[in-house]
């Protein structure tokens, strides 16, 4: 197990470097120049453009620019973006907020999704089952910005905005409750259905019959035996979902004014701020890899038959 984890960690290094290479080229291949739009409604003067190009080595060939970037990356310096801010500082302020938001959303998905799935699975075919299926379907069919705006105005109308803030400019845990809920609601349906389907299948399995025959309480049969096996696909989904929540929560971040990674990457792409994009996405790739590793290890925990060596 230990060697497995170490091996996986070592494998991450070439993957991250390969990803930065790809992203670097993609960003610089996008048409347009990064100094556009920095000068109001008029064009930037030639002198401004010349200085900009000089400061950021934009005149050098692409491979030279990548070489310079890599040299800095190895020293842990993610570079300085086009606004004069160190990319590492920008990311350090934003990643914790995004991680907190993703964790809250994940908790919402896990708690509500899995409970709903279990309820539906246990009482398959009943009214409760149909209720769960239909309601989760309705929730995922509403676009996230509609849910978000409705939630905000709902809280305002009920005058709850002191307990549940409607925007999250500072990124504290309390402020992230509402956006976390909104974000989590998107994945609840998938988690519920995955749990339900797998649970239904496992409840008919032989080992569950054996457990019941042995005289174990229904709670233990369900919780320790049936659920553990049903959760493997759900964990896979959640692992993939976490990455999506981290980098893809752009709309939610905008509505709630959350200073997170998704919005940062989106804005940097719009402003053609290549240095920021490469840095932020490389860290995102790394997080994805770590989460995947956690998921793989969890497989072994959930199902002892799966071994990693």
């Amino acid at each position: 197990m230990g060697t497995y984890i170490v091996r996986r960690l070592l494998q991450m290094i070439p993957v991250v470097i390969g990803a930065t290479f790809l992203i670097f080229f993609l960003v610089y291949a996008v048409p347009g120049e990064p100094w556009e739009g920095r000068c109001g409604e008029r064009e930037c003067s030639d002198a401004y453009i010349a200085k900009f190009k000089q400061d950021y080595h934009l005149d050098e060939p692409l491979l030279v620019q990548y070489g310079l970037y890599l040299a800095r990356l190895v020293r842990g310096d993610l570079g300085v973006n086009f606004y004069g801010n160190a990319v590492s500082t920008e990311l350090l302020t934003r990643y914790p907020t995004s991680i907190k938001l993703a964790l809250i959303a994940l908790t919402v998905t896990v708690v509500i999704g899995i409970s709903a799935g279990v309820l539906a699975g246990v009482r398959k075919g009943s009214f409760l089952d149909s209720l769960v299926i239909v309601s989760t379907l309705v929730v995922i069919s509403i676009p996230v910005f509609v849910i978000g705006s409705m939630a905000q105005f709902g809280v305002l109308k009920l005058n709850l905005n002191n307990v549940i803030p409607v925007t999250a400019s500072e990124g504290t845990l309390q402020q992230l409750i509402l956006p976390g809920f909104v974000l989590g609601s998107l994945s609840v349906a998938y988690a519920a259905r995955l749990t339900r389907t797998n649970l239904v299948e496992n409840l008919r399995a032989d080992f569950v019959r054996t457990a019941k025959a042995k005289g174990l309480t229904p709670a233990r049969v369900m919780g320790v035996h049936a659920l553990r096996n049903s959760l493997i696909p759900v964990i896979t989904f959640l692992g993939y979902d976490f990455g999506g929540l981290m980098g893809g929560a752009i709309v939610t971040e905008r509505i709630f004014n959350i200073n997170g990674v998704g919005g940062f990457i989106f804005r940097s792409i719009n402003q053609l701020d290549g240095v920021s994009v490469v840095g932020a996405v490389s860290v995102l790739v790394l997080i994805y890899l770590v989460v995947n590793l956690v998921v793989d290890v969890m497989y072994g925990v959930l199902d002892p038959r799966i071994s990693h060596d």
């Binding site: 002198a47 500082t89 990124g171 905008r254 004014n257 956690v294 925990v301």
Partner: protein
Amino acid sequence: MRARPRFFAAASLAAFALVATACGTTASNPQTSTSAAASVATKEGGAITIRGCAPQNPLIGSMTGEVCGGNVIDWTSAKLVRYNPDDAKPMMDIAESIKTDDSQTFTVSIKKGYKFSDGTEVKAKNFVEAWNIAAYGPNGHEGGYFFEAIEGYDDTQCPANDKCATKPKTDKLAGLVVKDDYTFTIKTTTPTSNLPVRLGYSAFVPQPDTYLANPAAEAFGKVPVAAGPYKVTANTATEIVMEKNAAYSGAYKGKVDKITYRIYNDPTAAFTDVLANNIDFTDVIPADQLADDAWRKAVGQDRTSIREAGVIEVLTFSPTDDQLKSNIPLRKAISQAIDRPTITKVIYNGTRTPATGWVSPVVDGYKADQCGDSCKYDKAKAKAAYDAAGGYKGTFTLTVNQDGGHKPWADAVCNGLKNDLGMDCVVQITPKFADLLNKAKAGELKGAFRNGWQMDYPSIENFLTPIYAKGAGSNYSKYDNADFEKKLKDAAAAKDLTEANKLYQEAEAFLGRDFPTAPMWYRTQPAAWSNKVTNVKINAFGVLDVTAISVK
């Protein structure tokens, strides 16, 4: 047992993740004071939080041309003159007097004892040396072109198309001479009657000795030292904090003690926060709230305002389109067929006012109705004029940029032209404003395209020279009329502002005859504020007037 090590591995990984997050937490949550602190009932003092956006450049007056950084500079700096918030007239600020006999050599005397926020005194050299740095080509200051009028500007610029391989002749403007600590002279290359009006623009700020010694210092660009009523005390990715400048020696003090400029990327989030009274002021209203004045009803009539701003939007007729190039009656007919009042009412819900000329109503020298009938919607007359002019053959393209939300009005205009004139009109979109300008410069656009202009200083001249003078940077219509040029020169050489304005108005009349562009509308500036502040005013530039706003 075999399960244990896996459990340990999973648990330790999870624990590590949680600890990493927690470590990040303590480092990344600065304590910010919210407007809840503003529970003081007095008029002076208190703290407010307002909507902001991320500055694109360092906070140095001559390096900023966009509104996000420009607002911060506006509130924290003082220049020779300051514009009256209500009518944009220039008032003396650091300058004691600006005298001239011939509108070419100006003698500037500054007040004694005017201090920067670091306690040092503002002297004549702080202006002259700062302006030299701003104008010098290799420094790449975005506002450098404001010094074009000053004698010796060309010698400070890199030779064209050279990428500054050879340095310019000098890094000092010959037309700026320091006479003594409190006096300096400005000599312009040609007579420039409205130079005093220009001196209130942020490119003309004085800079303290700390900046002059090391202009490239990054820290100064984040937390600058300036001579205005407020000073920047903190500048992070999420907000900029400004506090009252204790050393401020001017007459335009602010009331509140602290302003937090919180950066928002979405107007809806800021508007929601104003509704929740989490922030005290926003000046951008989300488009969906504008319909039926929903925003005014949501916030409350008494906490909203609309004010005309010095911004005009026009339709430029492409200079490379052969059908339009020499057919003035055709251009006028097309303009007459655009129903400006209906479009501004239905699509913009009153946040635009139909234009009647090429100059915004907020400036000194504005004369109404210079466009005449060509800007008044008249379907019958337009059709008659259109047919008489020969009509437009083929497809008329109307090009606008996607990133300003212009498609709705462009569609409305095109449909109107189709219905009223029988033209085949199609709307073309470019992803960004910059792409539109590039295509226009390259001559790739036919038909008409959108242009906008935001005034730099409140003068009628600023709406004419930069856009319609021959070879001007923003002259996308390639307008070139020798009589117009002469009129501009005469106005610049006028003895006083009244005479200058009269001549500029005559120049604007040329535009009414030659019709290079069709004025569409002036922008208005909406504002909404929380129930914690009062006396909220917007100045003529559409910027919050920090000397007026106060907490309740």
